[in-house]
């Protein structure tokens, strides 16, 4: 378990990334990552829920007894997701329509309950909130990256429907780089292949890094404590 704030940040964003390392929440990750805007929309919604659920769980942790713990997590997460769903329906209606069933399905994203159980229920509120935020950003980043990859290859565009998040006038953000894309990329198998490639890239980067720092590992890490 990470101890310092820096470690919480690095864990959520990279070392223990929900999408690339823990492979939690694959269902929305693969289903909604067909465009940047869809990925960003669901990523932000999930991040928001994670931040709030971690904060809430940490706040009520004195009340958490073992026999009701999981029920309380589900209650907290389900009511937060429903609230977020209502608010998105009210303020980002087009995005809401475009994400459809995947907004209520945030409830079933195991990343959220796993952070509540493994971290937030045992940590003070500030650290729990930071962890929720960082885990959420890490997940959103994977969604956006995968969305960009698939949208670019599959449709030859980027930021299609940007107005759904950024309001009217944001259509100018949409880039059409070439016309007919590679259809496989926008279909579900393309999501699996894309995610596999992202994981591979991360592993390569981690491997290079480990080789670079390996001499340092030999030295005692006493100064870290």
């Amino acid at each position: 378990m990470p101890v310092t704030s820096a470690e919480i940040v690095r864990d959520g964003l990279w070392d223990n990334n929900v999408g690339l390392v823990q492979l939690l929440g694959l269902c929305p990750l693969l289903a909604v990552s067909n465009t940047v805007v869809n990925g960003l929309g669901l990523g932000l919604a999930t991040m928001f829920v994670l931040l709030l659920s971690n904060t809430t769980v940490s706040l009520i942790r004195p009340l958490l007894r073992p026999e009701i713990r999981i029920v309380v997590f589900v209650l907290v997460i389900a009511s937060l997701v429903t609230s977020v769903e209502l608010l998105m329906n009210a303020h980002f209606h087009d995005l809401y329509e475009s994400l459809g069933i995947f907004i209520p399905l945030i409830v079933t994203n195991c990343a959220i309950i796993s952070r509540a159980e493994a971290f937030a229920s045992r940590q003070p509120v500030g650290r729990a909130a930071l962890d929720g935020l960082m885990t959420g950003i890490g997940f959103a980043a994977v969604l956006v990256t995968l969305g960009a990859l698939r949208e670019l290859l599959g449709r030859g565009s980027l930021f299609v429907h940007a107005q759904m998040i950024f309001g009217d006038g944001a259509q100018a953000l949409t880039l059409q780089l070439f016309d007919r894309g590679f259809l496989l990329a926008v279909l579900p198998p393309g999501a699996f292949i894309g995610l596999g490639l992202l994981i591979a890239v991360k592993n390569v980067i981690d491997g290079r890094r480990a080789r670079k720092v390996s001499p340092a590992i030999l030295q005692p890490k006493a100064q870290a404590g």
Binding site: M1, I60, R61, L63, L64, R65, P66, E67, I68, V71, V72, L75, V76, A78, S79, T82, S83, L86, L87, N89, A90, H91, H93, E97, S121, R122, Q123, P124
Partner: protein, 214 residues
């Protein structure tokens, strides 16, 4: 490491758990009720805006001055409107006089099942616009050609009427009509052409009643 402090709590009875859970459930219900109360009016407004936007695609906003969304009636005609469900007819008026109608008939004989349409008809019997709002046609085999985002085919109905062309012209070119079919897909455009024609026939026979019916 900060952990649970179980020894402090666990010697209390099950009622404590029940009370805690009940209390939290009440709080959650309260949160949801408040959010719902805040969001509901905005959601309704959004939904109305979405419907109005699609109505205005087939009935230009400058052709009427009434509140289109609230001026509607429902009718049933399996033969001409293609469905046994009630079909909503929105009535556009200008200075109180009929300006046209928007209705959502169904083309029941699409290749992949029923095709739901939105048809705007001016009071003089000409088509103001047609859109496909729901279909299960095969993409790239007709399915793309009927969507306004991907093809302008659906606008070939604009300004048509029962006399332009005459009845035998209301068919795809392959059947001797005036409308284009698509490569490898004749069933889809045939179904839509027929449904639009039927909608015109229905309007022609019922226009008086449509505008007066409650």
């Amino acid at each position: 490491m900060v952990m649970h402090s179980p020894d402090r709590q666990d010697n209390r009875g099950p009622w404590t758990s029940a009370v805690i859970l009940g209390g939290l459930a009440l709080l959650a219900a309260g949160l949801l009720a408040l959010t719902e109360r805040y969001a509901r009016p905005k959601i309704i407004e959004n939904q109305r805006a979405v419907v109005l936007r699609s109505l205005n695609e087939v009935m230009p906003v400058d052709t009427y001055d009434n509140n289109l969304l609230d001026d509607f009636t429902t009718v049933v005609d399996i033969e001409l409107l293609g469905t046994s469900e009630p079909v909503t007819v929105y009535r556009a008026r200008r200075n109180g006089e009929p300006a046209g109608v928007v209705m959502n008939p169904v083309a029941p004989n699409g290749y992949g099942g029923p095709i739901r349409l939105l048809v705007g008809i001016n009071s003089d019997g000409t088509i103001a616009g047609v859109r496909v709002i729901e279909h299960r046609e095969t993409p790239r085999l007709g399915g793309d050609d009927i969507e306004i985002e991907k093809s302008s085919w659906i606008t070939s109905f604009n300004d048509r009427s029962l006399t332009n062309p005459e009845t035998e012209g209301w068919a795809v070119k392959k059947d001797g009509g005036v409308y284009d079919q698509f490569t490898g897909a004749t069933i889809t455009p045939r179904a839509i052409v027929q449904a639009v024609h039927n909608a015109l026939l229905y309007y022609d026979a019922n226009s008086e009643r449509l505008f007066n019916q409650e």
